[in-house]
Structure formats: C-alpha cells, structure tokens
Symmetry: C2
Subunit: 127 residues, 2 copies
DNA sequence: CAGGATCCGATTGGATACTG
DNA sequence: CAGTATCCAATCGGATCCTG
C-alpha cells in the first residue's frame, strides 16, 4: 500500500494540510536544528509540545509523509540494532523557513487574535 | 456552549490548523476579492474547488471560526429576509497575504515535490 | 436566505502489543 | 531501536430537515 493513499492531492492542499496538522510543523522546527534519531525526536517533541507525546505510530506516519514529498531524508547505519536518523533536505529547510515566517507573523498578531476571541466568547457566553 | 470548544489553543496552532483545513484558505482567497453573501460564497467556492461543494453547515462553521479570531466581519441588513455579508478585516487581509505567499512558494516548488512523490511511489510500488 | 439541529461516514491521532 | 499491526476515541466534513 505504499503507492496511492491520498496521493492524488495537489501539492498546494497537501502541503498546507501538512503544516496545519498536529505535529508536522513542530517536527520541521526540531529537524532544522540538527539530525535526529527516531526515539530522540519523539522525546524532544514530547518535551516542547508540553501537552502529551506523539505516538510512535503517528511519528512514523508524519516522517514518511515528509520523506515522500522530499522534505526530509532518512539515513540508516549498518549497526545492530540499526540507527535511523532524519534530517531536512534543502527543500525541507526552505519549507521550514516558510513555516517559521508564518509562526512569527502569528506571534506578532497573536495578541489581537486572542483579544478578538475573548470578546467573541464574552459576547456569546450569556447564551 | 459558545465559549470554549478547542478555544484553549494557542493562536499558533489554531491558525496553522485553519490554513491547513479543507476550506478556510479558499475562503480567504475569495473574500480577498470583495464582500460576499453566504449563498454566493457557497456557490463560488463550489466552482473553484472543482471537486464538490462545501456544505452549508461547514461554511457556517468556518466563517464563525474566522470571525471569532477577528479575520472576517459579518454585516447584516435589516431586510426581510435578511442579507448577511462577509468581508475580510485588515487582520484577515494580512492573514490572506501570508496564505498567498505560502501558496506561491508551494507552486514554485510543486514540481520538485511531485517528482519526489512519483519517485517514492514508484520505489514502493513493487511491494 | 441564513443557519441551527441531527445523523453519519471518513479521517486523524493515540494506546498497546508485537517483530527484525 | 525502529517500525508495523490492531483497536479505539475524537474530530471533521457532508447530507438532510427545519425555522425565523
């Protein structure tokens, strides 16, 4: 089942969806710092997300999706047990930069957004 | 139940999720052209998405979410039946601009991404 | 016309157990 | 350690019906 899936998506929609999902952007941010092994990556994601850990299965799914699109590369050593490391490709680094820009923008405007939400929620609270 | 929901999200995650969902970015693109009424908006979204129409319920949900964050404004006339129009706020226009940038980037790199996918799918096809 | 209420299918993400 | 396979809960989006 390696081939299709939701692969008929245009890159536009699927990449936007990637950035919008629960973990992918965080993975990009971490991989931008250096190369990481699977288990290490899981641990650091758990720490910085602060809520809860990514499951092993979902981490694999997200890494595969990023690899399929050419955003990350996977390197395996011949050791036993094998060591598998992930790193951003140049394309992935470029995507990361875009994600950063977006995050920075949201940070600068985050106050306004939260103010709107507070006002909205206050107005609707008396239902 | 107007208040909470997934409202405890930080703007970062929720705005990224907004851009990554099925319709929101498309809605931003359309609203950037002018003000639209609910039914018109539904029709034009159906046309440009080419796959299938957004349901009435989901359009309302998306518009409410955008309104809550202060990205769009809702204007109602005193007519019977009332006319309801939606338009981008300055904050929403700024978000739209960021979405456009991202889309443009994906377009310029889309070829590479699709090439990676093709290679990946071909490699995995012989399972 | 705008939109709320229901019901439903599909997808997403998490927990756990198991394999090379 | 890295990854797969199940099973399950929650969320998302769609279809339909109903109301001011």
């Amino acid at each position: 089942m390696a081939s299709s899936g939701r692969g008929r998506d245009t890159p536009i929609r699927s990449v936007m969806a990637l950035l919008g999902d629960r973990w992918t952007t965080l993975i990009l941010l971490v991989l931008a710092t250096s190369e990481w092994r699977h288990a290490e990556l899981r641990r650091v994601l758990a720490r910085i997300s602060a809520e809860q850990a990514i499951s092993q299965r979902v981490l694999t799914l997200k890494l595969r999706a990023l690899e399929r699109d050419g955003f990350i590369s996977r390197r395996v050593t011949a050791d036993v047990p094998p060591k598998v490391s992930y790193a951003l490709t140049p394309l992935g680094l470029a995507l990361h930069d875009r994600a950063r820009d977006l995050i920075e923008w949201i940070k600068t405007r985050g106050g306004e957004i939260e103010a709107h939400r507070a006002a909205w929620d206050a107005a609707g609270a008396g239902d």
